[in-house]
């Protein structure tokens, strides 16, 4: 009985980091064709089209999280100037409108604040 438990525990201890390693490789293109970055306990996908900024929030298992209760801010560098875009829940994610066209892959940071008030940010290069 004891040995069984120990074995289970050992197997779990070995398996956890391995799983984590595989799950780690999630940089790249997301479900909506945008870029994916880590933000605290979430993964966020950033899609910019002309002036609109769309951010979709996923949990650790790449499952979309309802944006209700979330708010966010995207600060993107466009043409050497920072553009601050306030994001609000819209549809399946957060969305906002910038004052100038953003281009397809602006670099910057997206900060989201969850319903519990904890902020997390993801960097896009």
């Amino acid at each position: 009985m004891l040995i069984q438990r120990l074995l289970t525990l050992g197997a779990l201890a070995v398996a956890l980091p391995l799983c984590a390693h595989q799950a780690c490789a999630h940089d790249g293109t997301g479900h909506k064709g945008g870029r994916i970055a880590d933000a605290g306990p979430y993964h966020i996908e950033l899609v910019t089209r002309d002036r609109t900024v769309e951010v979709t929030i996923y949990d650790a298992k790449e499952k979309a999280v309802s944006p209700a209760g979330f708010k966010g801010t995207a600060i993107l560098v466009v043409g050497g100037k920072p553009a601050r875009v306030v994001l609000a829940p819209a549809g399946t994610g957060l969305a906002g409108e910038a004052e100038m066209p953003l281009g397809a892959t602006p670099k910057g940071v997206v900060q989201i604040t969850g319903p519990d008030g904890a902020a997390a940010s993801g960097k896009f290069n």
Partner: protein, 603 residues
Amino acid sequence: MSPFRLPAASRALAAALARMTLALLALLHLALLLLALPFLSPLARAHEGHDHGAPQAPVSKTIAPRGEASSAAFELVAIPRGDALVLYLDRFATGEPITEATLEVETPAGPATAEATPDGSYRLPAPWLATRDPGRDHLDLVVTVTAGAEVDVLPLSVALPKAAESAQAGQEAGHAAAPDSGHAGEGWLHRLAEAVTNRLAARDPGAGLAAAGGFVLGLAAMGLMRAGRRAPVLAVLVLAAALVLGATAFAYEGAGQGHPEVRAAFVPPPTDLAQRLADGAVFVPKATQRLLSLRTQVAAEGAFRRTVSLPGRIIPDPNASGVVQSSVGGRLAPPPSGTFPRLGTRVRAGEVLALVTPPVQRVDLSDMRQRQGELDQQIAIVQRRVDRYQKLSLGGAVSQVQLDEAQDELKGLKDRRTALDRIRQEPEVLTAPVGGVIAEAAAVAGQMANPGQMVFQIVDPGKLWVEALSFDALTPASDAAARLADGRSLPLAYQGAGLADRNQAIPVQFAIQGGTEGLRVGQFVTVLAATDAERKGLALPRASVVRTANGQDVVYAHTGAERYEARPVRVAPLDGTRVLVEAGVTPGTRVVVQGAELLDQVR
């Protein structure tokens, strides 16, 4: 004592005992698991193995919690200090402080701009630090840095002082552990373990008493079990449970409003001292980095030529300098302007610098007087003859040819007479052969100059050469530099080398490229000329390599915003200012190039 030899009556008791032992074992497992949970929790929190930028807890108790972020251009450190956030901004590659940037921070209370302070840091009033959720150990901010034309957005995760350290916050933590979603179960156990550890560390007699009590209770339980009494065993277990729960409450009380003055005595407030950490790395807070003026350089690999150093001195460019010498011996006199050019006077080519009047010897003088008299006499005779011929030529008694001859003779005599006068008065004019600056002047009015004596030396200060003595032949293509005593370095262009030995070496001449300000002719310099042999490695300034107590050469790599790690290296001499690191540092490492000696002194 074996259960098999027991009578039947006591066998039942033995079986019951065995069952209880098993149950106890199970309980023990549970307890072990519960105890282990707090230690496993950090692993569990970093979801799926990666850390998501949660700031590392400071490795030393004397370092305040902080956060750092970096990009290709900037390096940012933020430290919560009371109700404000102190930010330090540096260049990533060089470590140079940036004091005139604009820092816009996305705070929980909306965007705010940090103000630059006179000490080179930035200060952001942060009232939201006091009203934060006490269960949170870090704070995520986004900082937009605008420094000149460079703009970067940095996500910054700042570690916050532990909730237990502030009296009020600690108390709230006891009740408000729930918001830490998903990790509610381990919250109290974690804190309990921490509180007990802290108490043991603080040599609190309470913790020792609790441990002793537990031991005694355990002994009592064992004794009762052996005696076969179940009810008292249960009672003892209940008592133990009560004790554990009591200890929990007691730990909370201690962490909360209990004895703040006692805690303060045992845990001094962090002072951010530069220190050597347990892993050998050196922690240097940003403020100290600025004090020590630490600078880094990103090491890049390349092929470099080894150089030799030669003794040399500065000479004037032979084509842009000249001397003014008197060709005859004579008395020096100032030029028509009235004064001799002084040292440093700029002169044009052809400008009159001095006059030399050759002295007339006494013998010569009488000779000249005699000659003068003769000429005067002849002039008088010829003059009369010309007058007479002029009258007679009108009547045709004297031919025109005779008159012309007489006139020519008179003219010649007069010319000789004036030339004799002029020779006595006219001095030799000394002119500047080239344009430049008077480098040497030996002219004093009235002084007698010998023939061939140098009166002035003219040097063009923009055109100077270096003559060095080399023991081996240098290739014409090799680049060279001259190092001055004050540390300046001048690029040199090879001009040529002599073939005749001088002190077992050959003279090699180089032209100084670029600025020659502050140089003087004859100044000693060290010429560093590259040889043909090429070596691969990383070139670093000589000052970046430090010799440690054990005689090993190390360089300090800047691995974190406030973290430096010593890297043992193998170095080879390269030139006067740089060394070649052949092994020990990978390209791209930020290496401390200024202040490495000071960094090495940090204990």
